[in-house]
């Protein structure tokens, strides 16, 4: 790739920033949750520790959480842009960030059980490319920790156990069930990313895609915006609270998207993002220069 070193340094900076500095919409949401917990409560104490951790990580230029997670890159590139070269230089930046301690050696060969020293392996990092009518490259990175990933769920409606039918009330039942069964195990308070519809695979992907949205935005689809708001309100009444130790701050946000489906299927896919919601993005010129930060 031409301008290889420019590209490498921009992508490295994106990774570093994502690992050590939480986006401000997330930090603000945690601050709001903190103020909403009663003084002297466990929930407030947990959130205070979390806020202190966020500040420390930023000041000490160290990872917010030691589980630096699955690295999910989403690129939007101009039509005809060489995405193979882009993937290659991203891998180089990932290896460098691992060497410099911004990423933990966090990738295991599933069959041999051996740890991979660079985090560059089959299936790691994760890429998603889209060609668009644009002149710059839009790159976004989400680092998703294992504890939060393990908390994900997928429902197929109708669901007898929940008494959930194929409608939005059925979706609500699934989401309340998910919140109660996850408890604090994904390091709450976190964000639910949800997809209604799609197939088993695209549903999960679209649910995760919701994490590119800011914590405090609302869906453009009215019925989904209403459902998001309602589930968030109801999550407080469930009282799971930070770390599942009890309290109001069970979730920071709920983001719901929808995809079309087959007549025979109705999936509700739920992805959980912990409070260590590491998401950053940048606009980069085709020459690799950093134009502006997103979020």
């Amino acid at each position: 790739m031409k301008n290889h070193s420019q590209w490498e340094s921009s992508l490295f900076e994106l990774i570093r920033r994502t690992s050590v500095d939480l986006p401000s919409d997330v930090e603000q949401a945690i601050k709001r949750a903190y103020t909403a917990e009663p003084g002297g409560s466990r929930g407030r104490w947990v959130l205070e520790t979390i806020l202190e951790n966020i500040r420390k990580a930023r000041n000490q230029d160290a990872p917010i959480c030691q589980d630096t997670g699955t690295l999910c890159f989403s690129f939007q590139v101009p039509v005809g842009f060489d995405t193979n070269a882009l993937a290659a230089v991203t891998r180089v930046a990932v290896a460098k960030a691992t060497r410099m301690g911004y990423l933990r050696q966090n990738t295991i060969d599933t069959l041999s059980g051996e740890s991979c020293p660079t985090n560059v392996a089959h299936g790691s990092p994760v890429f998603r490319f889209e060609q668009c009518a644009r002149s710059t490259v839009d790159v976004r990175l989400i680092m998703k920790g294992g504890g939060s990933e393990n908390a994900g769920r997928q429902y197929s409606l109708p669901d007898d156990r929940l008494g959930a039918g194929r409608d939005l009330e059925g979706v609500r039942k699934c989401l309340l069930d998910a919140i109660v069964s996850i408890q604090g195990n994904g390091c709450s308070p976190g964000v639910l990313g949800v997809c209604v519809g799609g197939d088993r695979c695209t549903g999960c992907e679209h649910a995760k895609h919701q994490f590119l949205r800011k914590v405090d935005d609302r869906s453009e689809v009215k019925v989904l915006a209403r459902l998001e708001e309602r589930i968030l309100k109801e999550s407080r009444l469930l009282g799971v609270g930070p770390m599942g130790l009890g309290g109001n701050a069970t979730l920071l946000g709920v983001k719901i998207g929808a995809l079309s489906r087959l007549p025979a299927s109705f999936f509700v896919s739920v992805s959980y993002m912990c409070w260590a919601f590491r998401r950053r993005g940048a606009l980069i010129t085709t020459k690799g220069g950093l134009k502006r930060w997103l979020y």
Binding site: P38, G39, G40, S41, R42, W45, V46, T49, I50, E52, N53, K56, A57, Q60, A62, P63, I64, C65, Q66, D67, G101, R104, S115, G145, G147, D167, L168, E169, V171, R172, K173, L176, D177, I179, V180, Q183, G184, N185, C187, V223, R226, L227, R230, E234, L237, L238, G239, V240, G241, M243, G244, L245, G246, C274, W275, A276
Partner: protein
């Protein structure tokens, strides 16, 4: 549910100290703790010899990020890892080694509650993900065992901590805070589903 002031817990964790703790209390732990994850638990469960004396001690479920700098170890991150995975191993280890404190994160069920009751042990819940705050509370790395055998993440680290914050999640009477929150949230969910207005598209 107000927390008046944190309780201090100092190694060695005597019966008196540990028995006076109640679920929901906020504690600051100081002194020696021993880290361990999946491999150590399996090893001890299968009767492997322990290089340290765990009596009146604490097992901390943590895979710290530790680097070697100027001939000494430096802890870069030291948050808890999920304890749920070790629940099946813990009763025997606690009983045979006289462990009094387990520090970690995540749900533990009846098995652990029963074991805490009969072994006189507590389960303390740390703040998941708070790698930097907790690393700062590690004041010294005393030794490392099984580094080669298990790898540095899974190794048994002897860490000296100071004012390490946690919440009592299971006390010596077997009372389980996380289970209680779980049950009451399930009841709250049922109530919402019964009485709440249905969503219409």
């Amino acid at each position: 549910m107000a927390i008046l002031s944190p309780r201090r817990l100092i190694y060695p964790f005597t019966v008196e100290q540990v028995y006076s703790l109640r679920t929901g209390q906020f504690v600051l732990v100081s002194g020696l703790v021993f880290t361990g994850r999946d491999r150590l638990h399996k090893y001890l469960y299968e009767g492997g010899a322990c290089p340290v004396n765990l009596r009146e001690g604490a097992i901390y479920h943590c895979g710290p990020v530790v680097i070697r700098e100027d001939n000494s170890w430096k802890v870069r991150a030291a948050g808890p890892t999920t304890s749920t995975r070790e629940e099946a191993y813990l009763p025997r280890i606690m009983q045979e080694h006289g462990v009094r404190v387990v520090i970690g994160k995540g749900s533990m069920g009846r098995v652990m509650a029963k074991a805490c009751h009969s072994a006189g042990c507590v389960y303390l819940h740390a703040v998941g993900g708070a790698a930097q705050v907790l690393a700062d509370r590690v004041v010294a790395v005393k030794a490392v065992h099984f580094g080669e055998q298990f790898g540095l993440t899974e190794a048994l680290w002897e860490l000296e901590i100071k004012d390490f914050p946690a919440v009592v999640a299971i006390d010596c009477r077997g009372r389980n805070l996380l289970q209680r929150v779980m049950n009451s949230s399930a009841r709250a969910r049922d109530k919402l589903l019964e009485s709440g207005e249905k969503v219409v598209s």
